[in-house]
Amino acid sequence: MAEKKLDILKEGKKWVFSLIGKPLADNSGVKVKVNSSQETQEPTEDSVANDIKMFKDFAKKSFDMTKKATIPFAKKGASSVTDTARVVSTSVDNKFIKNLVRLFVISFFVIILIFITIYLFKMLGQENNPVQIVGVSPTPVTFSPYKPSVYAEDLEILVLEEKINILEKEIMGVDIKEGGINPPKLDYNIKF
């Protein structure tokens, strides 16, 4: 068991060193020959080629596996699409749906007709009772809440009323306090 583990470890180490291009130091005592450059290049090229080959094999295997796994699902999906298409086609053919669509279209046109009739009735109603345009009359009618006496238009009374109104406006609007002419604040405290 222990020997197997050691072997696995050796193999792993060998693989890692081959990747990075380092010569592996053999602990078993086998002397590593120092070859020429050509000999060193050849093992590295072989390791790269081996890696590429290994990758290709792995990719091919994984592709095949996924292909095998997905083909049944794709077939299933295609069949479900055809199934739904079949169902839709059957439903369209269904009388109930046809009647429903027919009813919808009819009701839509009926609503439009109702709106048109209401509008026409309104127009007819306006023609019978024309709307009175309220505008400014040339002579304004003054509303008098009381019955005027003979002195309502008396000149002296009107003059008096005018004087009273003017005086009232002045009393209300004028502030008897003089603003802005208070004595200025000057510094008279001069000392040295």
Binding site: Y146, K147, Y151, E161, I164, I176, P183, Y188, I190, F192
Partner: protein, 284 residues
């Protein structure tokens, strides 16, 4: 020849009547352009601005002099103080001119009272003008301080004078309203008597209506009487303003409150007379 001479002289005499022009021994007096209140106020605000700037400079130079006590700082302080005092006198004079212009435009003030106030204002203007002219004759900071104290003492007369003028202006407005109210009430009473005496059908009122009208007249009379009482109280306070130990501002505010009460009574009387007019205009 003689006839020609006489005829020619006669023609000359006739033409002289039409061509002669008036000759004056003296030129007609030119109209004195009175300064309006707005002009005087603008001038006053200008001087006040200059005074503020001069005062700021004075404060700076004074502090420098008190700190360093050098000859240069003393001279600078003197110059700044002199300028400030001159500007201060300018402010005082321009302010008095503002009061004069405002008094000129005031209404409801007796001419005798106006003349008295004008005389007092001119007195103060002359004093401050002389004071300003004498400032340049001072030689030291101490002289400036003593001159400033003279102006300070004089200002104690100007302050109550200013508030007296402001009180008189307010009083004039109320007097004007009171006078107009009296005239309106007299006219209304005369009109009511005419209506009462009118025997034509439809042109007179019932006794009940006349009672109502008389009641309104009585109430209006009462309000006007109360208004006059308040005016008398305010007038007495104005007379005590100058020379009073009490603060001029406090007395002025008391005068204004009295005059405001008088104004309210006049307003109420006005309302009552409006009611009379309404009664007269309405048919029974």
């Amino acid at each position: 020849m003689f006839r020609k001479l006489v005829f020619f002289s006669f023609i000359l005499l006739i033409t002289s009547f039409f061509t002669a022009s008036k000759v004056f021994s003296q030129e007609p007096p030119q109209e004195v352009t009175k300064v309006t209140f707005n002009q005087a106020y603008d001038e006053y605000m200008g001087f006040f601005e200059e005074y503020n700037n001069a005062h700021a400079e004075y404060v700076l130079k004074r502090s420098q002099y008190l700190k360093f006590q050098t000859l240069k700082s003393s001279q600078d302080a003197y110059a700044a103080t002199l300028t400030m005092l001159e500007k201060r006198d300018d402010v005082a004079v321009s302010y008095l001119k503002v009061l004069m212009a405002r008094l000129e435009e005031g209404i409801g003030i007796l001419e005798s009272k106006k003349d008295n106030l004008f005389y007092r204002i001119n007195e103060e203007i002359d004093w401050y003008t002389n004071h300003k002219n004498n400032l340049s004759t001072t030689g030291s900071l101490d002289d400036l301080v003593s001159d400033s104290n003279l102006a300070a003492n004089r200002w104690l007369r100007v302050d109550p004078l200013a508030y007296e003028i402001m009180s008189v202006l307010a009083q004039g407005k109320i007097t004007n309203y009171d006078k107009r109210m009296d005239e309106i009430l007299i006219e209304m009473k005369d009109k009511i008597e005419l209506i009462r005496a009118d025997e034509r059908e439809g042109y007179t009122f019932s006794s009940d209506k006349f009672q109502i009208i008389d009641r309104w007249i009585f109430e209006a009379d009462g309000k006007i009487t109360r208004s006059k009482e308040k005016q008398i109280e305010a007038d007495n306070m104005i007379k005590t303003l100058f020379g009073s130990k009490k603060s001029s501002v406090i007395t002025y505010n008391s005068i204004i409150s009295k005059l405001t009460e008088s104004q309210l009574f006049i307003k109420e009387a006005n309302q009552f007379i409006k009611e009379i007019v309404k009664q007269v205009k309405i048919e029974e």
